[in-house]
Symmetry: C2
Subunit: 337 residues, 2 copies
């Protein structure tokens, strides 16, 4: 990893937070993060291979900053040490001097070094993850920042990747990708924690390279966009049924396991109780008349978060001109390799 020359201090943005509106004159790299979770080893393998054979991954002529998100956790093949790094980019948490957990320190350090106003500034963050859920090769976008949507739309046009739009979930916040002016997660599965597979490495590389090509096109002012974007918008998460003592009283029904991105309707098998009985899906309050598509079904790391799966709404949105304009404006300031 090369460290660029530092840039001088910049005025605070007038039109929003610094992360949303970096100064027009500042340039930066593309941050490529692997191992934000230390037991997701495929993307770190990819970056390691790339470091040894720099010609192997095509950077599309952009200056990149590849790094391991949580090296200590990776060394131990654990998701994290003190707390989930990918929930640690919360403004209030980072600003609280009393918070000194390892991942809080790491988040501060990453922003100081590679944030949009950091020593080696990066304008876009691509965060590479894997999951035990059968998500395939997919994207996770946080909220509705125009530049993120333009990038996701371009990737969906190019590779057909499904998009999980995560928003409106007060229980899950502080994602790394949100802390850069533009960013998203490339999420590939199913793969067990701690396991390297050539297929997952290959899928991650495909999606990453396509992302870099799109950013280079946006930099040239010619970002290809589809007419519509299909997103799976987060509605809410469901936990497993639990006994009074908090232990799980059921597991994902075998007819639902590995069926991410496929709709579920009232009455469909959802869980299997520990006495063997099938527990059907009953729409939670407010979703009675809504067809929903589950994602992140049985992700190993989400048990501790009380998430057995998340329900989404499949929506087809017209792609807006202002999205690509936002990404092209941002990308015009990306540095060449």
């Amino acid at each position: 990893m090369t460290v660029a020359l530092g840039v001088g201090p910049m005025e605070s943005g007038l039109h929003g937070s610094a992360a949303e509106q970096p100064q027009a004159g500042a340039t930066g790299k593309v941050l490529v993060v692997a191992g934000t979770h230390g037991n997701e080893r495929n993307a770190p393998w990819l970056l390691e291979a790339w470091a040894r054979w720099p010609g192997r991954l095509h950077s599309a002529g952009l200056a990149l900053c590849p790094l391991i998100g949580n090296p200590e956790a990776l060394a131990q093949s654990r998701r994290y040490g003190d707390r989930d790094l990918n929930r640690s980019f919360q403004t209030a948490l980072l600003a609280d001097p009393a918070r000194q957990e390892g991942e809080v320190l790491r988040a501060r350090s990453l922003l100081a070094a590679h944030g949009a106003e950091g020593a080696d500034p990066c304008l876009v963050a691509i965060d590479l993850h894997s999951t035990t859920a059968a998500m395939g090769n997919s994207l996770v976008v946080y909220g509705r920042r125009p530049a993120d949507l333009a990038l996701a739309a371009g990737l969906q046009r190019q590779l057909g990747l499904p998009i999980y739009l995560h928003e409106g979930d007060p229980h899950q916040t502080g994602y790394l990708a949100e802390a850069w002016p533009c960013g998203l997660v490339i999420e590939v599965g199913p793969v067990p924690q701690g396991v390297l597979t050539a297929a997952v490495v290959h899928q991650s590389a495909l999606a990453l390279e396509a992302t870099l090509v799109l950013l280079a096109e946006a930099r040239r002012g010619s970002l290809p966009q589809p007419s519509h974007l299909v997103v799976h918008r987060h509605l809410r998460s469901l936990d497993l049924p639990r006994h009074d003592d908090g232990s799980p009283a059921a597991l994902i029904h075998p007819h639902r396991q590995h069926r991410d991105w496929q709709p579920i309707q009232a009455g469909d098998p959802l869980f299997q109780a520990s006495d063997g009985d099938t527990i059907a899906y009953h729409p939670p309050a407010g979703l009675e008349n809504q067809l929903v598509w589950p994602v992140f079904i049985n992700e190993a790391a989400y048990g501790e978060k009380g998430i057995a799966l998340s329900l989404t709404s499949r929506e087809r949105w017209p792609v807006e001109q202002r999205w690509s304009e936002a990404l092209q404006t941002l990308a015009s300031r990306l540095r060449a390799a």
Copy 2:
């Protein structure tokens, strides 16, 4: 779990170790262990469900002692704390008072409580595991104890389960099942660490119930046996190719991933280097003319042991009369529920 009345001290066996030759008069239960590795959660789920609905699992009329092997590791969803419990049943290790790791203490405690000469004696140990490798529903047998072979042969006859016979491997010793007069591992996969799936729970229950039925038949002196037993006998393990710094230089080739129990021949793709090149299988010294069947391909926990896969020899053995005699003699002392 009920604790039986203690039995008095017994003479040491004259015809071998106490574990191999328990006293003819002593009776005992069947030990059923789940969670020997704390991130293999399906079998603990099964035992938990069984504890809540005792009628659900059929014990075939035998007195059982179900327990969690490593409760602390299970609570943390980690394979182990200080060291692998399933490599900690080594006589010299257990006898060394200087060794006080958590899992050594646990192994001593399990033997004191439930060993063949323990307070609540068990004569047979069934140890329930899962793996990220595509082992299917399978058995692991350690060495060639006649009673183990009789039990495995009966299970293969009944369910067609493949058998990995682990022996002659000085690097991997001290398995739990070896520390009881008769014992084997039921190994089910693929399933990620930390993930519960109904299919794996169901496979584990099937194999466990069939084992208990066989033990009950052996107890009645009528153990069904096939004419032949097919074993996959351990030859040696292979590590990933590694860089000089010890980091992996390749991963399992996609054509080999999830192809456990399928033969590999010289020239077949085995690894994929980080530069993308295929690394073919070249038989190690001594195995040039031997057709081999890999097992435990890409098991997540074996990376730290330097095992990318193990090579076995597929062998068809005539079932010997003395095997069932050994198991029937032992099983005649199993207690009824």
